[in-house]
Symmetry: C2
Subunit: 404 residues, 2 copies
């Protein structure tokens, strides 16, 4: 019932090599015909004729029906994916940034040319969240998706909570282990989580949102005071992307640190693991846990996408195509936050709708109160610069449309 | 890319009706042509010409390419599935007992006739565990699968732990709510969990095991003493099916109550929810949580299978077909158990390899020690009759092949 796949592979790093090994040992009716690499001089364990530095050798080979794209360069990845999709080739990609930035174009290309782009490996490593959103959940009935989508920042938070390391030491350790980049902004600043959130939201709600419209506040300003506060309340701090349907017309998306308690599954998601919580009307609460990053978990997701292409599988993007339902993205949302700050004027300018708690003791000052998400967006840079720390301090049910 | 499905539906209970509603409101290119029911006199909200009491009206209709089987009668379900698979129709079933009892025949039928049988709805409701075992895990690299597979028994255990109800009262409440049958043996005795375990093991390890060869000890003999013991140790008791690869030749399967601690995800799986833990070499630990029973969760899994048939999807049963790897099922396994008992001779006859702990205080007597699984099987009836309670008291790593 399945068709033979002839693959052109872009990139031969950890994921690509693992994938090659698995495909060779399994009888999957899959052949890797050609591998495009950047550096022709690097020592390889495979025959030289398998490699090329010319992408056209893959993109213009009519016998290659499937392109697997595992490179780091976002714009090159988009060019490869869009050329392949336009010329009848199906594509598997693990580039979350590329997919999130170009999602509408990629959806259009698939539709125009009847080709399929799959990217399970781009979102939460080995957790099959995209496939589940596509196949299990009726869009109208999905209340929220949230979770821990970024392993590097979660590793740093676990080091802080479990091993009592401060932020800088934990970051250094994560970098030494290869869990975080030299410039860790993508991970600890919540950008990586945001790209994944934007992709997930397209499948959950049919809304294609530009990443730059979505707030992401990361964990860079986390201090010993915040850890101490959380510990005293028996809470943990996690970096949590949220997509929530507010009513039948509005969906909110944001990435913020969040206090989680021990009855929430995310509480036990530690180190480089990821967890995704889906709240749906029919299937009710579902939770998925697994390794979020690394060659093998990503490789297993990429392989699963390849396997699905043998059956001609494609995402349907039903809501994105039909716009049957008039769901729109909004930032006009009220939620309760914890703000630890130094600059009193910041509190004033953020325009809290209501302040529930206010505390100061020496250098440790915080407020807890209800705020409009838009005000956080406006003052995002100032929050960052003034070393203030913001966390979502509520259950998801506490997020609501701004009252007119 | 997807093909049109024309469906004949068997059974129009909660799952069937929910499914019908979802299919009608979604644009899935799926038509339900005919519904076979038992009782023609029951009031229906749909036009009478949609229903039939004659199964041949579906099985002999050449335009129906897909049979969805949602009935309670195991042997009738098998007859329907096998006739459909033999005549070119694909089948979706939610009957765990039917699939577990006839698995080898059903695999053979699919192979002979090039048809596809999917049964995600039969195992752990809305949790896509079969699809994940099929697509994500390389068989050689799967260390274990375990979890909470039965919502009714878990509901009773949660009532005991959280609400302090004794077993009989909790069972009565579960029955009043429709979570447990009048004869609850299938659920609380671990049979239902065992059927699901046998199905999962076929996809995980390629072994097709007869359910009667697998030990299932349930929670019927749970007493206030056992609850007290668990509470003092900050543990919970869950009914846990286990499939574990012992070495590259042996796989063990069993269903036993198990003490779980608060670092395990299963600890927080309460009431009618299910959870599945998969330990794999590549993807590492993965955990899936969701509602295990009920019309909607099962309906969502059935719908997902139907959606996959539009792409010609079928399980591959790679290991079961190829027998490339010589994995065999065995009960010659050693593990640590907790045994609360009244009859001293039972302890003696069970032939513990080693007793680690022994306790008595009035009527409350227990031993903890290492035992061969075979001895539990031999004395299963006696354990049940003498009101003794057995629980697995170890991490899965503590299960090992019997030492020669």
């Amino acid at each position: 019932m399945s068709k033979k796949l002839t693959i052109g592979l872009f990139g031969f790093g950890v994921v690509g090599q693992g994938l090659y090994d698995i495909i060779r040992t399994k009888k999957l009716n899959i052949e890797i015909r050609k591998i495009a690499i950047k550096d022709p001089n690097k020592q390889r364990t495979l025959p030289a004729e398998l490699f090329t530095t010319d992408r056209d050798e893959i993109l213009e080979d009519p016998e290659i029906n499937t392109v697997v794209e595992l490179i780091n360069d976002t714009e090159a990845a988009f060019e490869i994916a869009s050329r392949a999709l336009s010329t009848g080739k199906n594509v598997v990609s693990a580039s979350k940034k590329m997919v999130a930035l170009h999602l509408q174009e990629l959806i259009n290309l698939q539709r125009e040319h009847g080709t399929s782009l799959l990217y399970e490996g781009a979102v939460c490593g080995s957790i099959p969240i995209i496939r589940n959103l596509e196949e299990y959940y009726d869009n109208e009935l999905l209340h929220s998706i949230s979770g821990i989508f970024n392993g590097s920042s979660n590793y740093i938070l676990s080091k802080g909570f479990i091993e009592n390391l401060d932020y800088d030491t934990a970051l250094k350790q994560a970098q030494d282990l290869g869990f975080a980049e030299t410039d860790p902004t993508m991970d600890v600043g919540g950008y990586d989580a945001k790209f994944k959130l934007v992709i997930a939201a397209a499948h959950a709600y049919g809304i294609v949102v530009k990443p730059e419209e979505v707030l992401n506040i990361g964990i860079q300003n986390l201090s010993a005071y915040d850890l101490q506060y959380a510990r005293e309340k028996k809470l943990k701090i996690k970096l949590v992307p949220v997509a929530k349907e507010l009513d039948d017309k509005h969906v909110a998306l944001f990435v913020l640190p969040k206090f989680v308690n021990d009855t929430e599954f995310l509480y036990n998601v530690e180190y480089e693991y990821n967890g995704v919580t889906v709240q749906a009307a029919f299937a009710d609460q579902q939770f998925f846990f697994g390794k979020g990053a690394g060659g093998h978990p990503t490789g297993s997701a990429v392989l699963s996408d390849i396997a699905a292409l043998r059956y001609g599988y494609g995402y349907e993007y039903k809501k994105a195509h039909e716009k049957a339902q008039d769901l729109n993205f909004t930032n006009d949302v009220e939620l309760n936050i914890y703000l630890r700050y130094e600059d009193e004027y910041l509190v004033q300018d953020l325009g809290f709708i209501h302040i529930h708690e206010r505390f100061y003791s020496g250098d440790f000052k915080f407020v807890k109160g209800k705020i409009n998400l838009k005000n956080l967006i406006i003052h995002q840079q100032r929050i960052s610069d003034s070393k203030a720390f913001v966390a979502f301090a509520d259950q998801l049910t506490g997020v609501s449309l701004a009252t007119a």
